[in-house]
Each structure stands twice: as structure tokens, then as C-alpha cells.
């Protein structure tokens, strides 16, 4: 159990001058479950590996429980890590895999067995303890990797895309299991994923990274409700938020030839104060609805009916695409011309078209 603090932590790629992680600042509370999320190449794995001591901290520092970790080797950091490929020791049995760290620490064989059996029971691995990893299924291997981390009772869990090798169904199931387990153990956890659904469902707080830079560090709902910039807005949520850079007119922003996305009065004032001619407007598909009159005129390109809901993929002019959620068995068909408007209670997010920063 410990707090984790990234203080301007940077890591430079070996082969170039580019920063893999660029002055990252994070304050992670004791017992918190933090998810690092971002597209590939965003530096999220590097940030985790810096914490684990597998990557150098070239600038700044990382503290665990208030202690500076710069120059401290991995083996002395008291961190357990779950790897994407699990990295189980192929020549050791499940029990030996899980007990290896305790053995290195000089824990007696009896106590080791007790702890391993405890963890195995928790993870439903009891009958597999004497098997080698090669004889296990993917889900079982994943659980052994978890078990290896749990048995140690470390200060921090690091998880590097631990679910990406599982099939879709098992992934959803394991996702909730890991989250529940972490709540029960109360061990500070840093979890890396590229899957924004995992980030939203598992994390107490989520750090969104892009090109090595932190974009936003907030609770899942705040990321969803108040994305700090256009990148976060587009990254969190599925299907992604509709983002359109368009000229500002008297009562909103112009979309396509002659449609207008209407804005609230205070938003218009903010835009006026900012002195912008154009703005990047963002509307989530779930904040749009079909309407009979007004709103934005669009042509339907594709209808995705998921049973419980349907998504309309449309365009409002060249290069302006809009996705809208509607009721299932949507009345709209391919190539129909329909009108979309903001639902009551729906939000239009505004971002500076140059910097991408949120306005208001």
C-alpha cells in the first residue's frame, strides 16, 4: 500500500531524442486504481515501466510511498507486475510460479504453500497448482499471472494490458474480476490499456496520454462529461464524439451547407469573448436525436442496429460526418435524408480549433 507520485518524469527513447514520456505529473492515492490509457505510441506502457524500474527515469522522479525511486532497481521496489503475455516461467509449475517471489525473499516452504493455496483458492486455480503453464488455457494463465502478483502482497500492482490476449467474452468477465479483486485487496494499482471501455469501467481515475504527454487525469465520468481537449473528447466514448470545426454564426455553428447546430447563450458569449471565427464543436452520438424540423440536415450512410439501440452514420456535407444514436429498428434507411438535433439535456462541447483546448 502506498501513494505514487510522478514528478515531471520523462523518458527518452534510446534511438532518438524524442521523449517517450514527457514530464508526466500524477498523484495517485493509496489504494487507488488508476488506468493509463491512450493510443499506441502514447507512452502509457513506458510510463508504467518507468514505475516498475524496467525503463530509466531520464528526468524528474517517481516516488512510491514518498520514497524516490530514481536509481532503485526493480527488485527493490516491491512492485508486482502482470505482463501482456503473462511472462510465466515455463519450467516452473503454477505453484512455483506464484511462490517464486516469496522463495527469493526467504519465506519458509510451509508459509509459502499456505499463501499460494490461499491465492489459488481466490482465483479458482487450486486444481492446477502442479501443472506447467503450457498445459493451461489463456484465461488460466492470466489468473496465474494475477496470482503471482497477489501472493506477494506488494505495495503496487502494475498491469500492462493484461486482458488483451483473452477473447472478448472472457475479457469482459475478467475485467470485473480484476476490479473487484483490487477493491478487496486495496492495493494501489496502475493499469495500462488502449481500450477506453476498460479505462472507463475499471479506473477510479483515468489518465489519458498522447505522444507522451498527459492530456487529462480525472474520474471516468468527468472525462466523459468534461473532456479537457478535443483529443480526450474523441478518445473517450464509443462511438466517438462527433467533432466538427465550423464557422460561428449568430445562434450557433454552421454545419454543412445551411444547417446550424444551435448553442446555449452563455456558450455564444464565451465564443464571442474568445474572439474566434471558427470553433471545434463536439456532440456525442447519444446527445443527438432525429427530429422533424430544424436541426441539421444529413444523409444516412449506414445504419447499425444493435438490438438495444441503433447508430446512424450520416454526413451533412463533404467531410462532415455525424453519428447519432437512435431507438432500435430506426425508421431511417440507407440514403434517407433526415434531420438531427441536440436532445434536450444534450451537451455541445466547444474546443479551440487551433489548440484543441476546451472552451468553457
Amino acid at each position: 500500500m502506498a501513494t505514487i507520485t510522478y514528478k515531471n518524469a520523462s523518458c527518452i527513447y534510446e534511438s532518438s531524442d524524442k521523449l517517450a514520456v514527457d514530464s508526466l505529473n500524477l498523484d495517485i492515492d493509496d489504494g487507488e486504481f488508476v488506468v493509463l490509457v491512450g493510443p499506441s505510441g502514447s507512452g502509457k506502457s513506458t510510463a508504467l515501466r518507468m514505475l516498475a524500474g524496467l525503463e530509466d527515469i531520464d528526468e524528474g522522479s517517481i516516488e512510491i510511498g514518498g520514497k524516490d525511486m530514481v536509481g532503485v532497481p526493480s527488485k527493490d521496489r516491491d512492485i508486482a507486475m502482470v505482463f501482456q503475455n503473462y511472462a510465466l516461467y515455463p519450467n516452473k509449475t503454477v505453484a512455483e510460479n506464484m511462490g517464486f517471489a516469496l522463495k527469493l525473499r526467504g519465506v519458509s516452504a510451509d508459509e509459502r504453500r499456505k499463501k499460494v493455496e490461499e491465492a489459488a483458492k481466490m482465483l479458482d486455480l487450486t486444481e492446477h497448482l502442479d501443472r506447467k503453464p503450457a498445459k493451461l488455457s489463456g484465461g488460466q494463465r492470466q489468473r496465474v499471472a494475477m496470482g503471482r502478483a497477489i501472493v506477494r502482497e506488494p505495495q503496487v500492482f502494475c498491469m500492462d494490458e493484461p486482458l488483451s490476449n483473452l477473447d472478448a467474452k472472457l475479457r469482459v468477465q475478467t475485467r470485473t474480476e480484476i476490479a473487484a479483486l483490487q477493491r478487496r485487496l486495496g492495493t494501489t494499482t496502475v493499469y495500462v490499456t488502449h481500450d477506453q471501455v476498460e479505462a472507463m469501467t475499471m479506473g477510479d481515475r483515468v489518465a489519458v496520454l498522447r505522444n507522451g504527454k498527459l492530456q487529462q487525469f480525472a474520474s471516468p465520468t468527468e472525462l466523459y462529461d468534461k473532456p479537457a481537449n478535443a483529443f480526450v473528447a474523441g478518445f473517450i466514448g464509443s462511438p466517438a464524439m462527433n467533432l466538427m470545426t465550423a464557422p460561428i454564426v449568430a445562434d450557433g455553428v454552421r454545419i454543412g451547407e445551411n444547417s446550424t447546430l444551435e448553442l446555449e447563450r452563455d456558450q455564444l458569449t464565451q465564443l464571442h469573448d474568445a474572439g474566434l471565427k471558427e470553433v471545434t464543436a463536439g456532440v456525442r452520438p447519444e446527445d443527438l436525436e432525429l427530429s422533424d424540423s430544424g436541426g441539421i440536415e444529413v444523409i444516412v450512410d449506414l445504419v447499425e442496429d444493435l438490438g438495444s439501440e441503433a447508430y446512424l452514420y450520416t454526413h451533412a456535407g463533404p467531410g462532415v460526418t455525424l453519428v447519432a444514436r437512435s431507438l432500435p429498428r430506426a425508421p431511417a434507411k440507407l440514403a434517407d435524408t433526415v434531420r438531427l438535433r441536440r436532445q434536450s439535456g444534450g451537451v455541445v462541447h466547444l474546443f479551440n480549433p487551433q489548440t484543441g483546448e476546451r472552451i468553457g
Binding site: A52, G53, L54, P73, S74, K75, D76, R77, I79, A80, M81, F83, N85, Y86, A87, L88, Y89, P90, N91, F100, A101, L104, R105, K132, P133, A134, K135, R141, R148, R152, N165, A168
Partner: protein, 296 residues
């Protein structure tokens, strides 16, 4: 949607597996394969000289020289006795000593080198690897005179340690290259996992990496043993009586006059035996192969 997609390939796979099952015994039962015949011919071609050598070793000298080769004769151990009388013991011990010590040295130096050049890449890895290989590019014949002078100056002529040093340096580059390729098969994450588990590098290598690459190390060791055991050129130039090895001893039987085939074959059989044994011992390890079940 999501359930029907995985099912479709699964059924096709199952049906193709079924057809394969049906076809397999048919093909196995009695299908004449010309390649099988070629394999047998080549196999026998390789084996026959060895067989003939062993056979001749049990003949009298007179029987060995008959123009119509004799397959049936009264076997005798006389020639082996003669070989022992000529002092095969010293040569055998020398060869055994030089081979064992040089192979141990090669492994002791080569395993860390291969580790450093694969799992923990050092700077200029490629250059280092090329340097190792470049030492094998010079023909040995071109180096023998300077080598002779050096060995003579440090007083190691006709001394088995001269051969041990030379065999070690001769086998080291090959061993490093071979073992490196085995180390490269080990996922680096295993080392990282071990170090997070609290293992020192030495402990991680010993407990996690070495058990995985042991078949590769066994294969490498076998190659080194064979090369060192059969080495002739250094041995014949740098040793005389005291430090002579089996290959040099064997050549001693090729006399200008008189009958020597049976004796030569007996000596050669004795020379071949230890390598065959080493191969047989290493085989178990080799066949087991590399198993990386935990990855993927």
C-alpha cells in the same frame, strides 16, 4: 452476429480435420515413396564405412586385406590389444582432458557472452558478433607458424594446455553464435518478471533462463566436443609424444610397410566411441527441444 462468426471457421476446421483423419491411415498403410528409398540409400551410404571400420577392427590383419571382403570370420580382440600396447591410454586421456576442459571453458565464457549479446543487448552488439566471427575467417594454416613460435616461446610445446587454449578459442565464436540464437528465443519479459519478483540478474539467469536454454547449451557443448575431439592440425603440429591426442595417435598406425588396417580400424573405433557416447547422452536433451508454453 458475434456468435455465428466464430462458429463458421470452427466447423470448417473440424470437417477438414475429419478428412485428414480419414486420409492419414490410408497414406500410411502402403504408399511407395521414392524419397524413402533415396533416404535409405543415403543412410546406408553414410553408415557402411563406419560399419566396415568396426567389423575390420575385430579381424586379423590377414583377413582385413583379402580382395574379396570377408563378412564372416573368427572375431578377435588381438588388434585392440595391440593398440593398447602402443600406448593408446595416454592419447585417450589427453584427448579426453583437452576436450572436456576446453568445452567447459567455452561454456563458462560463451554463456555469459551469448546472454549479453541477446537478452541484454550491449552497445555495438553487431560489431562484437562480427568480430567473433571474423576470428574464424583466417585459415588456420596461415596462422600455424606464428602460433608455433608463440607456443614454443612460452614453453608449451608438447603440452596439453596449449591445445586446451587453442581449442577454447577455436570453438568460442561458434558457441557464442549458436547459444545466442537459443537465448534470443527466450522472451525478455521473463527476465523482467524475475527481476520484479526480486531476483538478482544472476539468480534470474540461473533459475529462469538457463533451464529454458539448456537444450541449446547441450547442443552447443556437443558440437564443441566433436570439434575438439577430432581436431588434428594443431595437435599434429604442436604435440609430440607426451601430449599427443587420439587423431595424432591414429595417424601413427599408417605405416610405410607391413599390415596395419585392422589395427588402424581398432584404434579408430576406440577414437569414435567417446563421441558417439557424448552424442547419445546429449540426444535426450536435444530431442526434448525448447518448450516455451507460457508465451502466447
Amino acid at each position: 452476429m458475434s456468435t455465428s462468426v466464430p462458429q463458421a471457421p470452427a466447423t470448417t476446421q473440424a470437417s477438414s480435420a475429419d478428412t485428414a483423419k480419414v486420409q492419414k491411415p490410408k497414406r500410411k498403410r502402403r504408399k511407395f515413396s521414392p524419397w524413402g528409398v533415396v533416404a535409405w540409400i543415403v543412410g546406408l551410404g553414410f553408415f557402411f564405412p563406419v560399419f566396415w571400420m568396426v567389423l575390420t577392427a575385430f579381424k586379423q590383419e590377414v583377413d582385413a586385406y583379402t580382395t574379396t571382403p570377408k563378412f564372416f570370420f573368427v572375431p578377435t580382440l588381438d588388434e585392440f590389444k595391440a593398440v593398447f600396447d602402443q600406448g593408446v591410454g595416454t592419447a585417450l586421456l589427453n584427448s579426453l582432458f583437452a576436450t572436456t576442459v576446453s568445452t567447459i571453458l567455452v561454456l563458462a565464457l560463451g554463456v555469459p557472452a551469448a546472454f549479453a549479446l541477446s537478452l541484454r543487448p550491449v552497445r555495438k552488439t553487431q560489431d562484437a558478433l562480427f568480430f567473433f566471427m571474423s576470428t574464424k575467417m583466417l585459415p588456420v594454416v596461415a596462422a600455424i607458424i606464428p602460433l608455433y613460435v608463440i607456443v614454443s616461446n612460452i614453453g608449451l610445446l608438447d603440452n596439453i594446455w596449449a591445445l586446451i587454449i587453442l581449442y577454447t578459442s577455436m570453438n568460442l565464436p561458434i558457441a557464442v553464435w549458436m547459444m545466442r540464437s537459443f537465448f534470443l528465443e527466450v522472451p525478455g519479459e521473463l527476465l523482467e518478471a524475475a527481476s520484479l519478483d526480486g531476483a538478482s540478474t544472476w539468480r534470474a539467469v540461473r533459475e529462469v533462463i538457463l533451464p529454458l536454454v539448456s537444450p541449446g547449451i547441450a547442443a552447443t557443448a556437443l558440437i564443441c566436443v566433436i570439434f575438439a575431439w577430432n581436431e588434428f592440425f594443431f595437435a599434429v603440429n604442436l604435440t609430440a609424444v607426451q601430449a599427443q591426442t587420439m587423431p595424432v595417435f591414429l595417424v601413427g598406425f599408417i605405416a610405410g610397410e607391413g599390415l596395419y588396417w585392422a589395427k588402424l580400424c581398432a584404434a579408430a573405433t576406440m577414437a569414435a566411441l567417446p563421441v558417439v557416447l557424448a552424442g547419445w547422452v546429449a540426444q535426450n536433451k536435444l530431442v526434448r527441444g525448447l518448450s516455451f508454453g507460457a508465451i502466447k
